[in-house]
């Protein structure tokens, strides 16, 4: 249940952001973290939980994609 997926912030709008997960775009609340377009973030239960260090996030994103968990 503590599953959180890495994605990229596309745009921000008030208290939420559009986050891209390998082409799937979902809206996530941003009240727990200040984010900007381009940020790599972890999303849990419709909410951005944390910003990620980019170079590590790319690797994690690739691994999750391999595992078939994003989509």
């Amino acid at each position: 249940m503590c599953v959180a997926l890495p994605g990229t912030v596309i745009s921000c709008d008030g208290d939420s952001a559009v986050v891209d997960f390998s082409g799937n775009r979902v809206r996530a609340k941003t009240g727990l973290v200040d984010v900007a377009p381009g940020d790599k973030v972890l999303v849990h239960a419709g909410c951005v939980l944390q910003k990620m260090r980019e170079e590590e996030a790319v690797e994690l994103e690739r691994l999750f994609k391999e595992l078939g968990d994003v989509g």
Partner: protein, 347 residues
């Protein structure tokens, strides 16, 4: 991490012939990832992984499920929940069965979906089944913030929120046969890796904070094995976890919730291991603190011992006989992160 570094870790884990290491992965998502990645097959026979109590659905007592079922059957109410909770047995059936018999329960992927539901039906009281650990608690706190701000009056919560350090403390104090722990990665994103330091030091056990890929887990296990006997916390998930965690999320949780004693299914009451709505926002609560009983449907169910890491799922006489994913006798066979379902799927 380079391919060479990963190859070295794999070789080291396979060749390990030191003292036996029993390592507990506390988090249910880790259990699922370990099975999915075939991690046990990559380890020396001297390294054993054992699952712990980190599946929120699995540790939710029957009283809680029974209360959800009763609420779903009241006039003008709707229980809103994540999917797994629909199938967890209470003392007399599941929420899904109650729904099929005319109760009202809706599944959502995000708790924020309840906002639109409540606004569309102002005469209905929507009750969110707020289960989870530190990872999910800030999401409920943020939702509550929005409910208060928008003056939405027809949303309530039935909470079963729990925290990880107290249960790890209780297991270690109870003499759990473990020589290291894989700390829950997404709990650590919120509370920070330093939150595990007092436990590591008190019990002189290595804790490895890990992410959820096979590589993350192998690095963490390798680190834990190499740190055997040392009370230390190692962060193998630095891209997401910092020593202090997400302070903004912690502050929001503290605004609305306070610690209290909580009942863990199959384990018992652990002091200070729950999060309950504060007095100022008690008006949003549907009686969460009164839910202090657990009545297993099947007396032979050994979920409690499985959740404590005392036995493997295969050691339970009901496993794969009376207890299967289609006819679960305990919560560990229901959740996608349940220890029993993970092992069932592996076999």
């Amino acid at each position: 991490m380079s391919d060479e570094a990963l190859a070295a870790v794999k070789a080291r884990l396979k060749a390990y012939d030191g003292p036996r290491m029993r390592i507990m992965e506390v988090c249910g998502s880790h259990t699922a990832a370990i099975v999915k990645n075939g991690i046990p097959g990559l380890l020396s026979k001297q390294i054993e992984l054992v699952a712990g109590p980190g599946c929120p659905v699995c540790v939710t007592p029957t009283d809680y499920i029974d209360r959800l079922i009763a609420l779903s059957q009241e006039e003008n109410t709707c229980v809103v929940t994540f999917g797994d909770l629909l199938r967890v047995p209470g003392s007399a059936g599941t929420l899904m069965q109650a729904k099929n018999a005319g109760g009202r329960a809706e599944m959502v992927y995000s708790p924020f979906d309840i906002l639109a539901m409540a606004q569309a039906e102002p005469a209905t009281t929507f009750i969110f089944a707020a289960v989870g650990f530190e990872t999910t608690a800030p999401v409920y706190a943020l939702l509550l913030d929005q409910i208060v701000e928008a003056h939405i009056e027809n949303i309530r919560f039935l909470t079963a929120l729990k925290t990880m350090p107290p249960v790890i403390d209780a297991l270690c104090a109870g003499g759990a046969d473990v020589q290291g722990l894989i700390a829950p990665g997404h709990v650590a994103v919120v509370i920070g890796s330093d939150a595990f330091k007092p436990l590591a030091e008190a019990y002189q056990l290595p804790f490895g904070v890990a992410g959820f890929s096979g590589m993350h887990l192998l690095y963490a296990i390798d680190g834990i094995v190499r740190a055997r006997g040392r009370g230390t916390v190692m962060n193998f998930y630095p891209e997401a976890v910092t020593p202090t965690g997400n302070v903004k999320a912690q502050d929001l949780v503290a605004k609305y919730f306070e610690p209290g004693d909580a009942l863990w299914r199959g384990i018992g009451v652990i002091p200070g291991s729950g999060l309950f709505l504060k007095l100022a926002v008690q008006c949003f609560d549907m009686g969460s603190q009164a839910l202090q009983h657990d009545h297993p449907m099947n007396a032979a169910c050994r979920c409690g011992e499985v959740l404590r890491g005392a036995i493997a799922p295969q050691d339970c006489p009901l496993f794969k006989t009376a207890c299967t994913p289609l006819h679960p006798q305990g919560a560990c066979m229901v959740s996608a992160e349940g220890n029993c379902l993970s092992v069932y799927n592996q076999n």
